[in-house]
Symmetry: C2
Subunit: 285 residues, 2 copies
C-alpha cells in the first residue's frame, strides 16, 4: 500500500534521523532512508545536517539532545572525531578508528558502529562472492580503505595486499590488520598493478572519479576469474571497471556496498526493511 | 504544477527549518510550512525539534551551527528563553518579552521576531475587521495574551480591557501596554463578563479547551455587533464561540490567527507564498 508522502505526514510525532557531514550537498542517505521509511510506513525522516568542522562536537551534542532524534549517520570529514561523541562503540569502529553511525540506546547513552566495510562484504555476498579464504588486492589505504580492509579481514579473507601511493598509510593499515586478524596475511604490495594469485581486486582509491582519470594502476590483462570492485559510485563505470569487463571479469561499482550498508543501517536503527525493497530505483538516487 | 513529494526530494541541497518546543507532538507548523514549501516548489523542509528545558540553550546553539538550517519557529515553553539565542530582535519581541521565530541573517547573526499577536491582527483584517480605533476586551494575560494585546495596541486599538484570574498578570500587562502605547487605553477589568462598549472580544485564556469547560466568563446575551475571537483551535467551536454565534455575533476560532501567522512566517523566512495557497485543506491540519 502506498503511504502518504513525507511532506504531508511530517508532524509532531515524526522521529528524526540525520546524516552529518561537511559539505552534505552530495549525500544520498536521506533519499535512501526516506524511501525505506516510506516503504515500511515508518513515521520518521532523515535529513542532511551540514556541520562545519570547527563546531563539530557541540553541534552533534545539540542534535543528540533532541528528544525526538534517534540516530545519526556520519560521513566525511567527521568519521574519526565522531568517536568522541558516543559512550560505546563496536569492535569494528574501535579497530578502524572511525564510525559512520550512532544511535541512542534505550538507557539514553549513544552507541557507534561502522558499516563502510561490512556493507561491501554483504554486498559481495549478495552477488554470490564469499570473501572467506580469498586473496585480496586492495588499492587505497585511506579512511574508506581502512574500513574495507578490516571488514574483509573480519570476514575471513586469507590475505590482503595493500597498495597506496602514500606508503606510510599502507604500512600502518597492514600493521593494524596483522594485530587484529593474525589469520589474515596482510602485507604492503609495492607493485600496485600485480594481480598474480589474487581472487578479489578492490579499488578504494579516488582514482577514477575525476574526468580524465585513468585506472588506479597500470593493469595489463586481468584473469577472467578475478572479481573486481571499484567502490566509486560516480561515474558508474570507471576506467578500471571498463577494463575489467573487457577482460571478462565480474566487476561492480559501489552499488552493492551501498545496498549492503543500507541494510546494515536499517538493522542498526531497528527499521523494518521490506524484503522487496530496493534502494536503486532511478527515481531515488 | 504538482511537485515531487518531500520523501523523494529531501536531498543534500534541502534547506532545514524547525519548530522547537517541549513536547512537540501537538505541533502543526511542520505540516503547514511543508505544504507551503510544496506549493512553492521550495527545496526545504520543516521538522519538529523536541528540546528538553534543561538543555535548551546548548541545543539551540547546536541547531544554529548547522550550515543548512535557516530558521526556527519557537513554541512553548521556550519563547522567553529564546530571546537569549538571538543577536537582535524586533520591537514586538522585545516589548512582549518573547519571540516565536528566529532566522539566520546574511551576516550570520540571528534575528528574532514574534508573530503570535500580529497573526491575529492580520487574520482579523482578512476577515474584514480593522482593529484601528476599536475597543477590545481580552480574557487572559499570559504568554499568548501578552502577544495578542501588544499586537492589538500596535495596530491602533483605542482601548484594551484585560481580565485574568491571575490579577497580577493583567496588572503587569496593562502597565506595559500603557508604557509602549500611550494612545491605547489599557486597563484591568474586574468584571470579566462585562462587554459594554466593546467592539472586539478576544479569549486568550485556556478555558474552553478541555472537555467539560464552559465559557471563560459568565456572559449574558452578547450584542450582535460584537466581533468574537477565541484563539483556541481544538475544539473548533468552544462554548464561547457557540454562545456568540447564537447571539448573532461574528465569531471565529484561532484559524485566522494561524493563517495570519503562516503568512508572517513566510515573509520572515523569505518564502514565496502563492496567492492561492490555503493552509487549511483538511488533509493538512
Amino acid at each position: 500500500m502506498r503511504r502518504e508522502p513525507h511532506a504531508e505526514r511530517i508532524d509532531g510525532l515524526t522521529r528524526l534521523f540525520g546524516i552529518v557531514g561537511n559539505p552534505v550537498t552530495q549525500v544520498k542517505t536521506p533519499q535512501l532512508m526516506n524511501a525505506l521509511f516510506d516503504a515500511g510506513g515508518v513515521n520518521a525522516v532523515c535529513l542532511p545536517f551540514d556541520i562545519p568542522v570547527n563546531v563539530f562536537e557541540p553541534t552533534v551534542a545539540g542534535l543528540q539532545a533532541l528528544d525526538n532524534l534517534d540516530g545519526l549517520v556520519v560521513t566525511v570529514p567527521h568519521k574519526v572525531r565522531a568517536m568522541s561523541m558516543v559512550d560505546a562503540m563496536s569492535d569494528a569502529a574501535r579497530r578502524v578508528g572511525a564510525l559512520n553511525v550512532m544511535r541512542r540506546q534505550p538507557d539514553g547513552t549513544w552507541f557507534g558502529d561502522l558499516f563502510d566495510g561490512t556493507g561491501l562484504v554483504q554486498g559481495l555476498t549478495r552477488l554470490g562472492f564469499d570473501v572467506r579464504g580469498r586473496r585480496v588486492k586492495q588499492l587505497g589505504a585511506g579512511g574508506a580503505g581502512a574500513a574495507v580492509a578490516h571488514a574483509l579481514a573480519e570476514a575471513g579473507a586469507a590475505g590482503i595486499a595493500l597498495s597506496d601511493p602514500r606508503r606510510e598509510l599502507a604500512e600502518e593499515l597492514s600493521a593494524r590488520l596483522k594485530r587484529f586478524y593474525p589469520d589474515c596475511a596482510a602485507q604492503v604490495d609495492v607493485d600496485p598493478a600485480s594481480v598474480a594469485g589474487v581472487d578479489l581486486l578492490v579499488n578504494c582509491s579516488p582514482v577514477g572519479m575525476k574526468p580524465g582519470d585513468g585506472m588506479p594502476a597500470s593493469f595489463g590483462a586481468l584473469p577472467a576469474a578475478l572479481q573486481v570492485v571499484d567502490i566509486i559510485m560516480t561515474p558508474a563505470e570507471t576506467p578500471l571497471l571498463k577494463h575489467a569487463r573487457q577482460c571478462g571479469c565480474r566487476a561492480t561499482n559501489g552499488r552493492p556496498m551501498i545496498e549492503g550498508q543500507l541494510a546494515a543501517f536499517a538493522n542498526f536503527f531497528g527499521i523494518d526493511m521490506p524484503a522487496t525493497f530496493s534502494c536503486f530505483s532511478d527515481a531515488r538516487v
